[in-house]
Subunit: 209 residues, 6 copies
């Protein structure tokens, strides 16, 4: 027997679907300026709200001795439209995440293991705010500002980062400058860097022009 | 004869379509995190901006002696994307709208007929704000907070509620707790309710587990 | 005796104050672009969330034979920052709310009594969307577009309007054009209206220049 | 040879696509309440971010002796979702842009050539704010308020306008009132204008009813 | 010697202060609907962007065998206005965070230690989405929906939670229902719970009435 | 004689003040995360909505042979809270605006005089989008991405830039890297630049450490 109470809000219930509860991203549909189209809620499962990729160490076999695993909307469609995402970074001793910025959101870094020297550069007189963070410490990097993290401790380090956007994006300074075909003369004129230095780094990072 | 003045903004006019004026929801297209895709404005008619379902009393033949008729985006696609929606609730003597919250927006209730005892629970030290409302009175329930309405008057009552979202959603506490398959042990551990009480209400409301 | 459960979230509770729950407007403090500063939550009372001014008929003793009572943030500080507000309009037979727009939000009108002919003008080829509304009907007027309501029924009418902003604002066309010191020549050049007509209405509405 | 540094953020890079960088509008896909669906970033070219239509004078051969060329999202899909757009207006001597409002955003006008008398009407007691602007001056017109520009100088004038929306929309008062089928009786009742004046302007602007 | 390049953007630099970079909350000033007023950027230090309180285990000596330490704007003013915050929860074996919702934002939980059974209740037919999470797993709980976490593992557990708001707020169901003066009769009428059960829990949790 | 029509909306008029119309910034009051507090609307004058500083050429006597004059909220308080701002840049032959990004908004550049080679770097595989712009051309640079402008023409050039924020902020790459006390070793580790190059540029730009 079904209780009549069930019917009281039947109309509301039938109307309160995906829109206000969640919008699991359908990576195959066209995107809108605010995210992916919503997967049909009828086929959404608990697993759509779970991401297990941050449980393993990132590959740090590179010249930065650091690696990053993102859990942004493209990897974790369950956060689509919810204004939040996470990522994990692992560092070998001396490893560093290059200077970078997130065009789409602010970041909070949480040190899970090790010691991290982190900081960001403000646009106000280019003032720098840096701090050595220990396990359990968190630090915020306001939206769009250049920031970095370096493992200055005696052992490997791991951090978890949270963002105020499901798609914060990331613009890595060395790659933005030297891993594309932006003409060397233009880079020189707009960065004050030496042409030789630019060419050297383009060669290392795969840039052309 | 057409006046040249018509041409002055022909370009602007041809460009000022649905986007900034309205976006009547196309319930058959995939949704985005902020609402339905827009119906082709060329086929939009005045009736798309009108909803007539709130003119009749809601069915109150249930154990709550209250009924609700929503005019959210799914019922009233003309408000899609406009950040507003309405609903109507009718109460028999002693009727009550159970404790519930709207994940997506704030609510203002307007008493159209009768006397309503209404209130909401703040997350600040769980303070409760309640008031007995007479015909013409309005009360606001801030976004996401548990609130309720009870007809404490001698006659049937009717209220109209407005929301700050086209899809405010509604989470009805009794149904959220007892009308699904959330294990009884988990409910007990996370609500402090007695197992017997939980099982009794699950039986009444159609819950399992 | 107080249960230890009370302490589990003491930290969270002490931190979850006004900001996320509500921000009752302090009309005496400086405003921000998004609303009034918040009244100290410690002195907020249930009455701050209630407005009783919509229970009486508006004064319709004017040439429009219509009157409006707003419940915007300045009259109803409890909705400050919540993105919603209400108002009431009363009409004598033949009464009309002049053409106007709300710069800050969309509107939904609900007919509580009588018959209303309402409509709005889209910026898309200036198309007009009109409808005769009966008791219980609702109609939406998208943000910023000119709209109107006329009592075309045989008896007085009353409507309640909801807005998607706590401060929707209202720009009444006849008053905007003829109740200030905008030079007659400028009005003529920017509206195509006759100078004589402009001067006549300025005289009626108190405009100068 | 490709450096291992390239791999450090391979995952992040593969995930940082259109969403947070840009969403060039696909004018052929259904729109959402916040803009067009995004063109596949893989086929986006530099030209998608450039619009060349504002380099020519607008056609001013009309009764207003003024013309406007918009660069809104429909003309310039590269700004879709970015909350900004531009337009150009040219004026013959004595030319005027009629009173109008932008439902979707605020405007800043920049005088590139000539002398412009501009102003807007506030909804606060209908107060008017006007100023004569010279080359290089800028003036802001807050969202949704009626405003105008008149060339009061001895030579042709050109202005460039910026908007806080990719689709600000524009509601031109004379056309909104007199270029559609809104019944003359309704216009008279909701504007206080004379019936004769309304009929005359409808005849000129192509209105009916 | 100072290079002239320093002067190129002197004007921009002097203008790019707190507003767009950060707004460290001044807890002593009146709040706005979107957060605290900004601390004078001239006295902001690196420490303002760092919070060290999440490095210690929360006190779990309570009936829930769980404790929470928030890093919301009131504890961590550096995130004020940035749309993000964090918190830490520790669980003894069998410990549980009661059913609760966050009116102001979505949450992502990251398991740092142990095994957690977590889930949320959708407003769509009250469907429940649950999952057993292992170390490194993350799960999202969409804004405003009831959710919970239980330590179902053989050892203590620790999780870090991120929110899409600097002031997400938290409404704990058992405390919201039974730790205030909401009349027992009203609770019974709006939850379907037995009066005896309500009185028993009020006694335990310190409720009255 | 004052017409009764004036009274119809007296309540609305008295209530429709600064909040929804405008919020001219009071630079002396504490800021909120979304802008300055509002200047008392009673003392706001037309001049508050006008800025005349963009009518003169910027000082280009510096090593970049370019200069910028901003009209952001701090210089032009009338745009406070309106989500838009402007700026002017002047270039000598060969002048360049260094690589920079705006944390707070997107930019559209309009070439008023001369020929400009402009472009931005996407975070998607660091792809570069560049174009040579002639007088009247406009180009958009999406929020937070590095972009630049170089005068590649045979004569001086002038551009006007619009932003989707009243406080877009600007982070100039050369100054952010070399005009502060960020340790050389940290810069080297996070940019891959040579220590010698870093020291040389710090000496030129006034950096230390």
């Amino acid at each position: 027997m079904i209780s009549p109470v069930i019917f009281i809000f039947s109309l509301i219930l039938s109307s309160s679907h995906a829109l206000q509860d969640f919008c699991v991203g359908d990576l195959t549909a066209p995107e809108s300026p605010v995210g992916y189209a919503c997967k049909n809620p009828a086929i959404v499962k608990a697993d759509d709200f779970v991401f297990t990729g941050l449980g393993v160490r990132a590959n740090t076999s590179n010249s930065n001795k650091a690696g990053v695993i993102p859990a942004f909307a493209p990897q974790f469609p369950g956060i689509n439209g919810l204004g939040i995402s996470l990522a994990r970074a692992d560092f070998e001793v001396g490893g560093a995440v290059p200077l970078h910025s997130h065009p789409g959101g602010s970041e909070v870094v949480l040190v899970a293991e090790g010691t991290i020297f982190a900081g960001f550069i403000s646009s106000t007189s280019n003032k720098v705010y840096t701090k050595t963070l220990k396990k359990g410490d968190i630090m915020v990097f306001p939206q769009g500002l250049l920031h970095f993290q370096v493992n200055t401790g005696p052992s490997p380090a791991t951090v978890f980062v949270s963002f105020s956007s499901a798609t914060p994006g990331v613009q890595l300074l060395p790659l933005a400058l030297f891993q594309n075909d932006l003409p060397t003369a233009v880079i020189a004129a707009t960065t004050s860097l030496d042409t030789a230095e630019i060419k050297k780094l383009k060669a290392i990072l795969g840039g052309t022009g």
